[in-house]
Symmetry: C2
Subunit: 70 residues, 2 copies
């Protein structure tokens, strides 16, 4: 069920930490919704995460959603 070689359409979400590091938050994002205190993410397997971050950039060709830690 892993997305390999662009056969799936979903993107992965990465977070840019305040100190400059980039970390993978969640793979195969199905749903992303800004909330009061950050972002709600859900992937195609039903995994959910809430992160204190804002969207920095979404590149759907690269399948990358870059978040910025708040």
């Amino acid at each position: 069920m892993r997305s390999q070689g662009g056969t799936m359409c979903e993107a992965n979400a990465y977070i840019m930490m305040k100190e400059g590091k980039e970390e993978l938050v969640l793979e195969d994002i199905a749903l992303l919704r800004p909330e009061e205190e950050g972002l709600y993410l859900q992937n195609i397997f039903g995994e959910q995460k809430r992160v204190k971050a804002r969207i920095k950039e979404m590149n759907l060709l690269d399948h990358r959603i870059i978040l910025q830690e708040l």
Copy 2:
């Protein structure tokens, strides 16, 4: 070059107007970036748009990015 039947991975961006109407903003989004005054969108054909809106919800399974007019 149109995306039909989910063969492409890109999503379409729709805006929810203040008065409740929903309108297509741009198809086949490649890049989305929040800016000072709204959102910058670019599609896979190189078309660019700037809208005074925020992201309301992104559903990548449905290929829909819903924006809320500011």
